[in-house]
């Protein structure tokens, strides 16, 4: 995965997100304190918040370029997004959630890897935090995305369960060879899954490189 940001500027509440950088690697971490602009960065990559100016490209495909007026809509990007709050559709079952993005795609492998088979018929409101996270990841995976965005995937999950979710995510990384952009404010979490990382502070990338060196 090669994600390029060229002079990207996006106004946030208290400062601007200003990024010129190239992120590469199978799992790239975005590390920084709360309010640093991490989620806004993911939103921009997903196509939910177009930059005011600049250029974003993924593996050579231009996603946004304000100079030439390019903005690929979120639904055409093929980028999976697991937001911090999961955003499962509360009026649907687990199966309906998973099938939402790709009704014809096979789901068996994803269901097996994430061990959510027994949950398929249940309503999402009855799921635990860890189960909800696995379903949200499965829903994004089933669409066969070119990149998976994970926003604080372990937040709101009990400590003992966090290790289990992390193991699931590592399995996805290894089984699907799916590039991921992994946002967190926890450095130990990042060290366990991401080979490269960028540190974001008040909208700017202040360090970038191998995770062990950056942290």
């Amino acid at each position: 995965m090669r994600l390029q940001f060229h002079d990207v500027r996006l106004p946030l509440a208290h400062f601007d997100l200003e990024i010129t950088a190239e992120l590469s690697g199978l799992v790239t971490g975005i590390f920084g304190p709360s309010g640093a602009g991490k989620t806004s960065l993911l939103d921009t990559v997903a196509g939910l918040r177009p930059p005011r100016s600049g250029r974003v490209a993924l593996d050579g495909l231009v996603l946004d370029d304000t100079e030439s007026g390019i903005h690929i809509a979120a639904r055409h990007r093929g980028i999976g997004y697991v937001p911090q709050e999961n955003a499962l559709f509360p009026h649907m079952t687990v199966l309906q959630n998973i099938r939402y993005g790709a009704s014809d795609n096979p789901i068996d492998h994803v269901v097996d890897v994430l061990e959510i088979g027994p949950l398929l018929g249940r309503g999402v409101r009855s799921l635990s935090g860890g189960e909800q996270k696995r379903v949200a990841v499965a829903r994004a995976l089933v669409t066969s995305p070119r990149l998976l965005l994970l926003d604080e995937p372990l937040s709101g999950i009990d400590r003992p369960l966090q290790g289990r979710i992390l193991a699931f995510l590592r399995r996805i990384r290894d089984d699907f060879h799916l590039p991921m952009l992994y946002v967190t404010h926890d450095s130990s979490e990042l060290a366990e899954i991401a080979e490269t990382a960028a540190v974001l502070d008040r909208g700017r990338i202040v360090a970038i490189g191998r995770t062990s060196e950056v942290l």
Binding site: D43, L48, R75, A87, H91, G101, R139
Partner: protein, 222 residues
């Protein structure tokens, strides 16, 4: 209740239901636009839509009378098409629509605002078009609030008086609604008849409010 009184109640309910159905598409669209989009003139439209809530109903009725009168462009066109509005059942529906529209828009707007934008955004990242997001995510999640707003608009239509008497008059068998009939009976000194109709009005209003609140409460629990 007498046969005539049942007829008045049925007539009022039928026209209130028709009025609610007719304003539903525009009410839904306006509520959604106010809840989800930014556009120039939004606050002006919002104020105009809510105006009948605070204006004297007879003033709204007078405006409608001028708007649909034969001397107006719309009235002239309708007249040429052979469609009579003023002092007919259609005028009753028009008055009901004008007076209950703000309540429907407000109900729809609140219902749409309560649906998390994040759910809609995630649906688009899964490849859904705007229309699919609206019909599979937004509308189902807002439906209780929307139905609550529709029931409230229906209840307002059932009780409409001021605008109706201006544009439709009070013609027995043609434009007399429940509210007009109560007023009529009191004016004639037929208090017993008036109280019977009052009882019907109380039961209908109570039931409508109860149903509306039940939908809104269930919506809150979501």
């Amino acid at each position: 209740m007498t046969v005539n009184e049942w007829h008045i109640v049925g007539f009022t309910l039928r026209l209130a239901a028709l009025s609610t159905l007719l304003i539903a598409p525009l009410g839904l669209a306006t509520g959604w636009l106010l809840a989800r989009k930014r556009w120039p003139g939004k606050s002006l439209v919002e104020t105009l839509v809510m105006l009948p809530l605070v204006m004297p109903p007879v003033a709204t009725g007078l405006l409608l009378l001028k708007f649909f009168g034969r001397r107006s462009g719309i009235g002239h066109l309708l007249d040429r098409a052979g469609i009579e509005v003023i002092f007919t059942w259609r005028a009753v529906v028009v008055a009901m629509m004008a007076m209950s529209f703000p309540l429907l828009v407000r109900g729809c707007r609140v219902a749409f605002e309560e649906v998390s934008v994040r759910l809609e955004q995630v649906a688009t990242t899964l490849g859904a078009s705007d229309a699919r997001v609206f019909f599979t995510i937004t509308l189902p999640l807002a439906r209780r609030g929307i139905i609550g707003g529709m029931v409230l608009a229906f209840a307002r239509a059932v009780g409409e008086f001021g605008a109706t008497i201006m544009i439709a008059g009070n013609i027995p068998g043609r434009t007399t609604t429940l509210a007009l009939a109560i007023y009529d009976r009191v004016q004639l000194g037929h208090d017993t008849d008036a109280y019977r109709l009052l009882g019907a009005a109380v039961v209908l209003s109570f039931a409508a409010l109860w149903i509306s609140e039940a939908f809104l409460r269930k919506g809150d629990r979501r």
